[in-house]
Amino acid sequence: MLSLVLRRLGLLVPVLLGLSVLLFAWLRALPGDPARAMLGERATPAGIAAVNRLYGFDQPLWQQYFTYLGRMATGNFGNSTRTGQPVLSTFLERFPATVELALAALLVAICLGIPLGYFAARRNGSWLDHLAVGGSLLGVVVPVFFLAFLLKWLFALELGWLPTTGRQNPRIDATHITNLYVLDGLMTREWDAAWDAVLHLVLPAMALGAIPLAIVVRITRASVLDVLNEDHVRTAEAKGLLRGTVSRRHVLRNAMLPVSTTLGLQAGALLAGAVLTETVFAFNGIGEYLFQAVNQLDYPVLQGFILAIAVIYAVVNLLVDISYGLLDPRVRVS
């Protein structure tokens, strides 16, 4: 097991190197000039030249790349050209917000998606099944930003049930330890702070969780249908086990194998979707920051953040592979 983890982590190095080259080239190929973006409409040629010299944008591309790579090896990801803040510390500061949002969205997807998919399969062909299948199609085709605006308009602006933006009401003087606000509230027993953070999470999590939810419903449904037709479920029924035991132990557990794989792949969708969701709800995570960085062609931020997202994506999928071994003894041996 350990050797598998190490091997997979080792494989990550060439992947990330390749990605850094692509990213570097791709960002430079984008239309626009970072210096002009920084200085605005009335930039003078001298000012632009000064900025380019300052950030090394006047050097040949390959030289810029290797300088960048060398700095990165020492943990220096550069400073934002927009705010001047170090990229790494900004990332670490904002990342917990995105993690909190992604986990909440995942929770929505799992806690609603698995039961929904399960019951749709059990009542295959019923109105519930049709609703689940149709609803999940809708969930996939509606763009995240549209859904986010819709939810915000309806539940926050029109009905006023939930807060419109942010992560926590600033009037609550909450103590922050991990920067996962809900967790912080629970740890410090500041219940009002935790509850307020939960309320702020509801709409963004629903917006971000819609696509994973739809996919989980579909995969669970298909997978449960498959498992229900397997001989071992009939054996379980022949044992006279209680309905709940058959469902949990003999159907759902087996049906979770493809679902767990899908959830891992969705980690990427969650991080990418977070850009739009966080922007709509002014949720101070990496997504919102990335959005601003794109607008300003903030090369160091874009490079650093996207590489970090790639690492997270790979690690999440590694974790999924490991969990697969826990779920299915047959893949454990090799």
Partner: protein, 375 residues
């Protein structure tokens, strides 16, 4: 006979006097699909099994034998199948029993061994979980007690080093071991009725004989009633007390084993026996297959379903309501009566039989392990 079985378990319902432990009457199973005509898989099957008795249900694929067993166990998908008739087990009709009560009986009083051991165990659970869960459900055992019993059970079916095996997963066991484990599971709560649906089909020949011996031994020792479903007459010859031959969802011949092999009456039974390799003929007697396939059938309403494949059939067979009844005085005198659903029963009405017809006589049948059985 059933009194002994009843005494084994306190609280088990007694079998009403004059009734067998399992008594199936006019069992009918239809599969329904929206937009399609219903398909009748079992068409009025009746049989009885008493404690300590082994009944063979014989027929080729598609004759309704597996569906019959699933219907008895209440394991057919309820939305797509319609089951009617009566399945009386110890005086209760299983078909009208509430789901929860049926679940209480399954695994405890009714055990079932399935055809394919490779797929009949859950691949992601340890053998221990799969054996102990039935004990914990029905016998109210704790974790440890159930584990000890499970180890005993595995040892009882001939699995070496059972304590270690309990921690293993199905893919770590061979096919024969898996079928043994499934038998152990089916017998864990000492059921009064065991249904074995082609328990040896997926196993290789040497293992087949071992598994059959094991089943027979367990059934004889515990006085369990057993319904053995098979297409293999060798298995029947070695194991069964009585045999019902199924064709197109109906019993076409019902007899004790000796009568069936000595004087098959129905032309289908005769054909089945003719298709079995004979070990007493030094390989010189060519096999006589039954022409056509089970799909070439006449609806029972129009006459004998076997008619299109029968070498003896004529227009007399094109009549509805050919009954399952004794066809000769000696057949009626047998216990139970030797009954056949045939207008021109073999051995009694062979006059215009064409060349190649089977001589009715004693058949010796090879058991899977090569031993020869003369009923």
């Amino acid at each position: 006979m059933s009194a002994a079985a009843d005494a084994r378990r306190a609280g088990a319902l007694p079998v009403p006097p004059g009734e067998s432990l399992l008594s199936v009457r006019d069992l009918r199973v239809q599969f329904v699909r929206r937009g399609a005509a219903p398909v009748t898989a079992v068409d009025g099957v009746s049989f009885d099994v008493g404690a300590g008795e082994i009944l063979g249900l014989v027929g080729e694929s598609g004759c309704g034998k597996s569906v019959t067993s699933l219907a008895v166990m209440g394991l057919l998908p309820r939305r797509s199948s319609r089951v009617s008739g009566e399945v009386r087990f110890a005086g209760r009709d299983l078909l009208t029993l509430p789901q929860q009560q049926l679940r209480d009986l399954r695994g405890r009083e009714l055990g079932m061994v399935f055809q394919d051991p490779m797929t009949s165990l859950n691949p992601v659970l340890t053998l221990g979980t799969q054996v102990t869960e039935v004990l914990r459900r029905h016998e109210g055992m704790g974790r440890r007690e159930a584990r000890e019993r499970a180890a005993d059970l595995l040892r009882g079916v001939g699995i070496p080093d059972p304590a270690r095996r309990l921690g293993e997963y199905p893919h770590q066991l061979s096919g024969g071991m898996r079928q043994r484990a499934l038998i152990a599971i089916a017998l864990a709560c000492r059921p009064r009725l065991l249904i074995a649906d082609e328990p040896t089909t997926a196993l290789d020949v040497t293992i087949q004989a071992q598994v059959l011996d094991l089943l027979q031994q367990l059934v004889r020792e515990s006085g369990t009633a057993m319904v053995l479903i098979t297409h293999d007459l060798g298995v029947v010859a070695g194991l069964c007390d009585r045999v019902d031959v199924l064709y197109a969802g109906r019993v076409v011949e019902s007899a004790n084993r000796r009568d069936l092999f000595a004087a098959p009456r129905h032309r289908y039974t005769q054909g089945l026996l003719g298709s079995v390799p004979r070990t007493d003929a030094n390989g010189k007697v060519p096999l006589t297959p039954i022409p056509g396939s089970v799909r070439d059938m006449l609806p029972w309403a129009d006459g004998c379903a076997f008619l299109p494949r029968c070498h003896r059939g004529d227009d007399a067979c094109r009549t509805a309501g050919i009954d399952l009844e004794p066809r000769a005085g000696a057949d009626a005198a047998s216990t139970p009566p030797h009954r056949a659903r045939c207008v021109h029963p073999a051995g009694l009405d062979d006059a215009p039989g064409p060349a190649g017809a089977q001589p009715a006589g004693a058949h010796a049948v090879a058991r899977p392990d090569g031993a020869e059985v003369r009923p």
